[in-house]
Each structure stands twice: as C-alpha cells, then as structure tokens.
C-alpha cells in the first residue's frame, strides 16, 4: 500500500513534519524529527528512482482524481534524479544542522527553524514531483517563503536586508512564473503539463503562448540565479546560517533549473532551439555568468560569499548544458546538478564547521586551520578539486560532457570560454587553501580544535561522494544521460 503512495509521501513526509516541529517546541526533538523526515524522504527518492529506472515513468493521481481535474504527480527519470539530489543533500545537511544551527541561531527559534527546513524541503520535493503547473507555483511559493525566513535567521543584521532582497526578487520571479502559467492556461485550457505539451503544439505561433513562454523562462531564470538575474544570491548565501546556505546552495537553484528544463521541453525542442534563439541566449548568459561569477569570487574576503559567487558560475555550467540542447551537453548539465550539489554542499558544510569553531567565515580566520582542523580542511580540498573539475572527481565528469557537447555542436569558442572559467576556479579555491595551510594564525586568535564528529560525518559523506561519483560515473552520468535522451525524445 505504501509503495503505491510513494510520490505523495515524498512531499507529505516533510510537510507533516513541519507543524509537528512547532508543536514539539523543543529544538533538539524537532531536529531529530527532521533528521528522520529527511532520511525517509531520501529513501523514498531512491526507491522512486529505482522504480522509474526499472519500469518507466510513475504517475500518481492525487486523491484519486483523474488528471485534468485532479493533480497528477508524474515522475520520470529526470525528476526522479532531481528528487535524489534534493534527498541526498537533505539527508546529509540536516544532521549537520543539528549542531551548526544550534550554535548559530538563538535557542528560542530552533523549533521554528526546523519547521522552516521541513517546509523548504517539502516545497522543493513538491515542485519536482508534480505534473501540474499551478501546483508547481504553490510549491515554489512554499519553498521560497521558507527560504526567505531561513535566510533572515542569520546572525548578522545584514541577514535581514539580504533576506528582504531575496524576497523581493524571488517574489518577482514567482509572479512572472504565475503570469506565464495563467497565459498558458488561457491558451490551452489545462494546467497538466503532459496535456499542455500536446495542446500547445498547434498554437506555437500565437502571441499568448510566446508571452507565456517568456514569462516562464524569465521567472525561472530569476529563481535559478542565471546571470544577470543573480543579484539576490550572494547576499542570501553569505548571510544565511551556514546550514541553510549549504541546503539552499545545493538544492534550490538546482530545482529551478530542473523546472526551466521542463518548461523548455514542454514547448518542444524545435520551438525553443530553432524557432526561438533561446539556446544561444542561454549559452551566452551562462558563459557571462561563468566568467563574471568566477572573476568576482576571486576578490571576496568572506569564504561563504566567495563560494556564493562560484555558485553563480556553476549555475552557468548547468544552464550551458540546457542551452547546448544536444545529448552530451544536456547530460553534462543534468549531471552537474548532482555533481555540483555534492561539491558545493560539502564546501558550505566545511565552512559551517569553521564558523562553529572560529565564529567567522572570513578568509583570515582560515589561517592555520590546515593544522588545527585537518579533517575539515582535507574535505574542503577534495570538494574544491571537484569544483575545479580535476579528473576522478564528479566535477570533471560533467565538465567533460559539457566540453564535448559544445564541440559536437561546433561551438568551439564556448568550449574555450568554459574551460577558461573553470581554470579560474583553481585560483579562488587555492586562495583559501593557501591561507589555511601556509598562513600562521592571526596574533591573538585562539587555537581551535577539529569540528565535532557528527559534523565531520556528513561533510566526509559529501566530499567522499564527490570522488566516488567521479570514478564510478554509472549513476550520475548514466542516469543523466537517460534523462537527457528522454527529454530529447531519443528514447522512451
């Protein structure tokens, strides 16, 4: 019985856990409940992916109502893969947050924090599982509101302005999305994505559809922090509590990119890539983001902010794959959702460990940590190598597919700019490492000890996965390739 309801449980588990957290009132109990919810959700996501890989897409009619009237959950390889990404990160970061958030957030708000984390996760899962566009909007709002609130829990007063900025821009994105959904509904008379995909085909020339398409893509690009719509990201990531940053950076933008990919292929590749120059536009903006994000990362003095700018660059990688629109490119882009989530998740978790011990994420506070926090910094090194994309890390796998995709497309200059921006990553990663390993601690700084074991475990799980999935790529590249050929219509 449970097996049949897995798609619903994927969302309901964290959604039910959220109010329970408030009722529990006790921060520690709420945290444990969230860990349980996150792990169950992870297990559900993995089960769903295995199910989809074995026997094709799963559909689920919510409340038993048939499709056009009720809400349909539809899970194919692509969204099952994204569910696993969100699930993995939640399963790793939530236990880490037990200690990290307890330290960074004032105790009275702990239960509230956990409720918000659950809402965020539920919203993200919801966006991914549902096959109904309006339902996507609802979950988008749930996750967004939760994340605005989570960002505002940061310690510094600047967190409030960062959260407000995030709220304004995020709401703008969501509103655009809603306008697009409305227009599309007016044109096709349905909100079910599979139905829209069919009905929209004989209206592709109409202005309504064109405008709907524009609103949807711009709205989602804002949510995904595509350059130059990224202005909310650095502040939000830098000021949020460390655990929130790790969670958001590794999941929220990924889900927005997933949704963008869905919308693009809702209208069909011919419309997007041939009738409209969206491929070229996305590639150009992605490259601009990669170069600008990497360059900006070079000049940051706060490591969280540095990594945030790096995220803008890496959103570029993923959207570059979408823009290329061929099998190798899409495979690389989709795989990078996962690969980057692991690496960036690990990096932000490592910074969280440093914040716990030193009280700051300023680069100067990393001085001497190579000796004082050897395990944390070693994990930082490994995840950093994956971020750079050195071979035998997960980051290399996606980069390889993207470069090959660009060359197969005949866009050699895209390949050139891409590897150039990847090489800049060496510089900003090494800046941190040099301080950690070569600089002696600041005079007067208290020597610190290694991060507690329960934080090192999730950290090393993520960093280790960055290497494991760089060597055995049958999961990330294999599934991403299946997802890519499915959306391209190359395979069932």
């Amino acid at each position: 019985v449970i097996a049949a309801h897995l798609p619903a449980l994927q969302v309901l588990t964290p959604l039910i856990a959220a109010p329970l957290c408030i009722l529990l009132r006790n921060g520690r109990l709420a945290g444990l409940l969230t860990v349980a919810a996150a792990w169950s959700a992870f297990a559900i996501a993995v089960t769903l992916l295995l199910q989809v890989l074995e026997s094709g897409p799963v559909t689920y009619m919510f409340g038993g109502w048939q499709a056009p009237w009720g809400i349909e959950y539809r899970i194919d390889v692509l969204n099952a893969f994204v569910l696993v990404i969100v699930g993995t990160i939640a399963a790793a970061v939530v236990p880490f947050a037990m200690k990290s958030a307890a330290d960074e957030i004032i105790p009275q708000r702990h239960a509230l924090f956990w409720a918000l984390v659950n809402l965020l996760i539920a919203g993200l899962f919801g966006i991914v599982v549902t096959g109904d566009l309006f339902n996507v909007f609802v979950f988008l709002e749930i996750s967004s509101l939760a994340s605005y609130a989570l960002v505002s829990l940061g310690r510094s007063p600047r967190a409030l302005t960062a959260a407000f900025r995030y709220l304004v821009l995020g709401t703008l994105g969501a509103t655009f999305f809603l306008i697009g959904v409305g227009l599309l509904y007016a044109a096709t008379g349905t909100l079910n994505m599979s139905d829209i995909a069919v009905r929209v085909q004989d209206q592709l020339g109409s202005r309504t559809v064109l405008v709907a398409f524009a609103f949807l893509t711009v709205g989602l690009s804002l949510k995904a922090a595509l350059f130059p719509l990224h202005a909310w990201l650095p502040g939000a990531y830098a000021e949020a509590p460390s655990a929130v940053t790790a969670l958001l950076a590794a999941t929220a933008t990924k889900v927005a990119i997933y949704m963008l990919l869905r919308v693009i292929f809702l209208f069909g590749p011919a419309f997007t890539y041939i009738d409209l120059p969206l491929g070229e536009v996305l590639v150009a903006l992605a490259l601009a983001g990669m170069l600008a994000g990497s360059a900006a990362a070079l000049f940051q003095t706060d490591v969280k902010r540095l990594l945030a700018y790096s995220s803008i660059a890496h959103v570029g990688y993923m959207l570059l794959g979408v823009g290329l629109g061929n099998l190798a490119g899409l495979t690389g882009g989709i795989a990078h959702l996962f690969n980057h989530a692991l690496a960036k998740g690990a990096l932000f978790v490592a910074v969280g460990c440093v914040v716990l011990r030193t009280g700051s994420s300023h680069i100067e506070r990393f001085a001497g940590l190579g000796r004082q926090m050897p395990w944390t910094m070693a994990a930082f090194v490994i995840a950093g190598l994956s971020l750079i994309g050195l071979p035998l890390t997960a980051g290399f796998a996606s980069k390889w597919y993207l470069v090959v995709g660009a060359l197969e497309h005949g866009w050699w200059w895209v390949a050139v700019l891409m590897v150039a921006s990847a090489a800049v990553a060496v510089l900003y990663v090494w800046r941190v490492l040099e301080v950690a390993y070569f600089r002696t601690p600041l005079p007067g700084a208290m020597p610190v000890s290694e991060a507690p074991f329960e934080m090192l475990v999730p950290l090393w799980a993520l960093a280790g996965a960055s290497v494991y999935f760089g060597i055995d790529t049958s999961f990330n590249i294999g599934v991403a390739e299946r997802a890519a050929s499915a959306v391209l219509g190359l395979a069932p």
Binding site: I388, G389, P391, V404, E408, A423, I471, I477
Partner: protein, 494 residues
C-alpha cells in the same frame, strides 16, 4: 603471474609504499626502508615486463570504465616502460640520496615528504603505462597535485610563491589547452586510445571534421597544453619549483615531472597523430621553431643564472626542447633520439642536481660565484659534476652523445639543416653554462684561504655521495650500453 597482474603490482607498489611510509612514521630508518623497498619492488615489476614488450607484446589492464567507451586502462609499450624503469630506478637512488640530504639539512615533515614522493612515482608509472589519453591525463594531473606539497615543502613565503607559479602554470595549461585538445580529439574521432599510426587518418586523407591547418592547431594545443614539457612561454614553473628540497628537484624536476611532459608529447606524436600523418600534412612546421627558440633562449638564460639550481632548471628547459624538437621532426631517427634523451638526460641531470644539493648541505653554497675551490673540498662531487656535464652536453663516452647524434641524423632526414645548427649551438651553450662552474671549483683558490684544507673533506653524507657517483657512472655506461636501449625503443619509433 599474468602480465595484467604485474602491471597492477607495479602501480600498487608505490601506493603501498606511500601507505607504509605513513604507518611507519615513528621510526625514520624503517620508514626510509619502506621507501627503498617500494622503489625496488616497483623497478623489479617493471623489469619483469621487459622481455614480453621487447618481443612485441603489449600487456594490457583495464581498471574501470570512467565514461561509456572511455576507460582508465593501461597498455605497456616500449617508451612508457623505459620511462617507468628509469623513474622507478632513480626513485631508489634518490631515496638513498635523500636519506643523507634530508637529515643533514634538518628538514622537517619528512614523513609527508617521503609519502608524497611515493605518490608522485605512482602517478608517473600510471601515466607511463596509460592506454589512452584520458588515463594519461588523469595521472598527469595527479602528478601535479602530488608534487605540489613537495615543492612547497619549506612552508615559507617563497615556497608558497613558488608553489603558486608551479600550480597555476601546470594546472592552467592542462585544464584549458590539454583538456580542450582531448575533448576535440574525442569529438572528432570518438576515441582517445593510443593507436599505432594515429587516429586522424582515414584512407588517404583525414577524418571528417579535420583539415591540415586544424591538425596543426590541435597539435599545438597538445604541445602547449603539456605544460610539463616547459615550452616557452609556459616554462616559468620549472625555475619556480626550485624552492623545493634538492631531492625533489633532482628526481621530480629533472626526471619524473618534466620527462612526463616530453613523454606525453612523444606519445601523442606517435600514437595519437602518427608520425607519418604529421609529416604528410605538415602539421609541425612552426612548432619546430617554438622548440628551437625554447632550446636557445633557455640555454642563454642558463648562462647568466648565478643560482646553481636555477641554472640547472633552465638547462633542463633547454634539454627538454631537444626532445620536443625530436617529436616535431617526427621521423625514425629523431624519435629514437627523443626516447634516448629521456634516459640519458635523466641520469646526467639528476647527477647535477645531486651535486648541487651536496654542495648546499656540506658548504651551504647555492651560487655559481661561490664555487671557488669547492673542487678541492669536494673532489668526488665535482668530478661527478664534470662527468654529468659531459652527458648533458652530449660528448662522446656519455649516453647523451647518442641522443644528440641520432637527433642530428633526424634533422638531416627531415631536411632541416637549420635545426642541425640549432642543436649544435645549443650544445655549445651547454658547455658554456655547465663547465665554468667546474673550472672555478677546481682551479680557483678557495674563498677563505685560512681554512685548513689538508686532511679535511667536506663531501656530503655517504648515502648522498654514493647516489651521485652511481648516477654519474651510469651516465657513462649508457654510452656503451646504447645498443640494447635503441633496440628496445625501436618498437616505439618505427
């Protein structure tokens, strides 16, 4: 024991050595014993493969499929096996030397030192045996990362600065040019395997999507992407790496790292492009001039460099350019010369670095201008210096003679008399930058005349002295033993 297992063992031995060094860190003597054992075992396993490869066999081992159709795998051919033999043998010698050097010089963090040393050799052997470009690339990058902690071993500001140059040039070139070259090769041909005759020729012409100018561009991407080959303008990492302790400069920056660079160039020339195709489509012309320019410019800089190790570094850049030149000439004689020079230069240059390190440890001198009278204080060391200098210059009675001789024949074979002139001038310059230090050491009076000379010797600790005597001797023996080496390399060059 099947040959696949022997390959695995040769790769695992240095890794096991690294682990053993870490485990045995409490007792330095046992720890260094572990390094020596690992080096010996690696060498023996490589040597066991020789008869099979000599007979034309190409033992293989596939480790895993990294991507569908792209494996991490190994296939042992003569050039790679020769390289692995040289590297593992000299690892043994260098550890011996380092036991004397590191202790006499009171270096810290020796466990880390020996551990990353072993990892660097593991990467070298892996790259030497690579079946395809991807595998080569993986170990190439691995070697950069494994040597970074060795370059910055001192941990001071100058070490950090040197390490920064080292890393940014080596990673910068390989993450951009070399990666692009690989992806391009893959996008056009659908394979990255090393194949006799290359992968770009189909029938009479080139594969679809390739034209002679593009082929030349791709070849240039490979040459400049291989930063370890130190072509100008991507050579600055090598002098920067001289901040490292001398054993690192000796084994890694005269043998393993730089030779991996030129090895990659030779390997790509023969097995990715095919020497015949490069000549047929005239893809190497202007790169010959780049190599020739590097050869001469680096030699001239070496003439003017007062710091002993930096002088040797520029000498290495110049000598590496001989091998790149050999690759771009792309005929049987030049390729034999390239292979031979990897071996001959390795023995000669490592000796020179050993000597420079011995002088540093015993007399605390680092500059050419400080060498007055050192020949009388350290006669064995400076004799070895002279012998090894002859090897680098390419005088008869050293192995270096043969590589220069064959390279000269190669230039004539290719109809490039100008390059012959470049080679000869380069050797003359080598006389200019290597012999004067020895002359000063032997003939000039010591700086401090009051110091008692008679009865007092300043030679380095005996393990170091033994090591540098051995490599100098081998550099001479190679002159007489060139025949089998060429016979072995024949399987690669023709």
């Amino acid at each position: 024991l099947s040959s696949a297992w022997i390959i695995a063992a040769a790769l695992a031995a240095p890794l096991a050595g690294a682990l053993a060094v870490l485990v045995l860190r409490r007792n330095p003597n046992v720890r260094e014993g572990a390094s020596l054992t690992a080096a010996g075992v690696t060498f023996v396993f490589c040597a066991v493969l020789v008869p099979e490869v000599m007979a034309g066999g190409r033992p293989e081992l596939e480790l895993l499929q990294l991507f569908p159709g792209l494996a991490i795998g190994f296939r042992v051919e003569p050039l790679g096996l020769g390289f692995a033999l040289v590297a593992s043998f000299l690892w043994f010698v260098t550890v011996t030397y380092a036991i004397g050097y590191m202790r006499a010089h009171h270096e810290k963090n020796q466990t880390r030192f020996y551990m990353f040393f072993a990892l660097a050799i593991a990467a070298t052997v892996g790259a030497a045996f690579a079946e395809n470009l991807l595998t080569l690339y993986v170990f190439y990058e691995g070697l950069t990362l494994a040597t970074y902690p060795l370059v910055t071993h001192g941990g001071k500001d100058k070490d950090r600065a040197g390490g920064r140059t080292y890393l940014s040039i080596l990673l910068g070139t390989s993450l951009t040019f070399l990666l692009l070259a690989l992806a391009w090769t893959y996008a056009v041909t659908g394979t990255l395997s090393f194949v006799d005759g290359g992968v770009f020729v189909r029938g009479e012409g080139l594969v679809a999507g390739m034209s002679p100018p593009l082929l030349a561009l791709l070849y240039a991407l490979f040459l400049f992407g291989t930063g370890k080959a130190a072509l100008i303008p991507f050579h600055r990492w090598l002098p920067a790496a001289m901040v490292a302790p001398t054993p690192v400069s000796a084994l890694l920056h005269a043998v393993a790292v730089v030779k991996l660079g030129v090895f990659t160039v030779l390997k790509v020339t023969v097995y990715t492009f095919g020497a015949g195709a490069l000549v047929q489509f005239d893809a190497t012309q202007w790169l010959e001039y780049v190599a020739a320019a590097t050869l001469l410019i680096a030699a001239v800089i070496a003439l003017r460099e007062d710091n002993l190790k930096r002088r040797l570094a520029y000498s290495t850049i110049s000598q590496l350019a001989y091998i790149v030149l050999a690759a771009t000439l792309a005929n049987r004689f030049s390729l034999l010369a390239g292979g031979m020079h990897i071996v001959a230069h390795a023995f000669a240059k490592i000796t020179l670095f050993f000597c420079a390190g011995a002088i540093l440890v015993s007399l605390n001198k680092t500059k050419v201008s400080e060498l007055r009278g050192v020949g009388r204080q350290m006669p064995v060391t400076m004799t070895a210096w002279l012998v090894a200098s002859a090897g680098v210059i390419g005088l008869p009675l050293t192995g270096g003679f043969w590589s220069k001789w064959y390279l000269a024949r190669g230039t004539l074979e290719a109809g490039e008399p100008l390059m012959l002139a470049v080679i000869l001038v380069g050797s003359l310059l080598a006389v200019g930058y290597l012999v004067p230090p020895a002359v000063r050491a032997f003939y000039a009076a010591p700086e401090i005349a009051a110091e008692p000379l008679r009865g007092k010797r300043y030679e380095a600790p005996w393990p170091s002295l033994a090591a540098l005597s051995l490599t100098a001797t081998l550099s001479v023996l190679l002159f007489f033993a060139a025949e089998p080496v060429f016979a072995f390399l024949e399987g690669f060059a023709s």
